[in-house]
Amino acid sequence: DTAVSQTPKYLVTQMGNDKSIKCEQNLGHDTMYWYKQDSKKFLKIMFSYNNKELIINETVPNRFSPKSPDKAHLNLHINSLELGDSAVYFCASSQDRGSGQYFGPGTRLTVT
């Protein structure tokens, strides 16, 4: 019955590796988001997709690439991981752009 799910929950990897985080929502929402939460709990939007179309692309290094195969899925691929990429990444979805957002449980990424 999970509304927004993410895998994996934890990801520990070495600098330079490439990794992906997957997100799925079963709410029938049109809009999905990726956020990064740093160690001080500050949340910053990275990307947003509406019906598989990229609508928000914040100032994020191009090592980060989102992919939305369908409107229920939004994956995040990260190339050449750096120490500063260590954070918790949250996926979220909303009915439309003006609604409250439903967040996934987060993926804690640790780059060593």
Partner: protein
């Protein structure tokens, strides 16, 4: 840049007391939202107040919005230990649903 700034950064109260936290923002908004985050978990949407609304209630939560002062407050009445969490305000402006979050208020409710 951060849009919302929350005050206080941390709040410690006893069960049964009320908790009030404030959020100030800088630019015009479409709506303002409050979220709760329990330790190690995702955010949970609590309440959304639109720019043309002044007050909204949901259970023990009361949110006010003063667009002239660019500020909002969240009141939790009769707090419980389960209310222990971080509370974030987030503003939405423009047409894309982009939320800008404040740094959060950490609330601890002791039995």
């Amino acid at each position: 840049s951060q849009q919302g700034e929350e005050d206080p950064q941390a709040l410690s109260i006893q069960e049964g007391e009320n908790a009030t936290m404030n959020c100030s923002y800088k630019t015009s908004i479409n709506n303002l939202q409050w979220y709760r985050q329990n330790s190690g978990r995702g955010l949970v949407h609590l309440i959304l107040i639109r720019s043309n609304e002044r007050e909204k209630h949901s259970g023990r939560l009361r949110v006010t919005l003063d667009t002239s002062k660019k500020s909002s407050s969240l009141l939790i009445t009769a707090s419980r230990a389960a209310d222990t969490a971080s509370y974030f305000c987030a503003t939405s402006a423009g047409g894309w649903g982009k939320l800008q979050f404040g740094a959060g208020t950490q609330v601890v409710v002791t039995p």
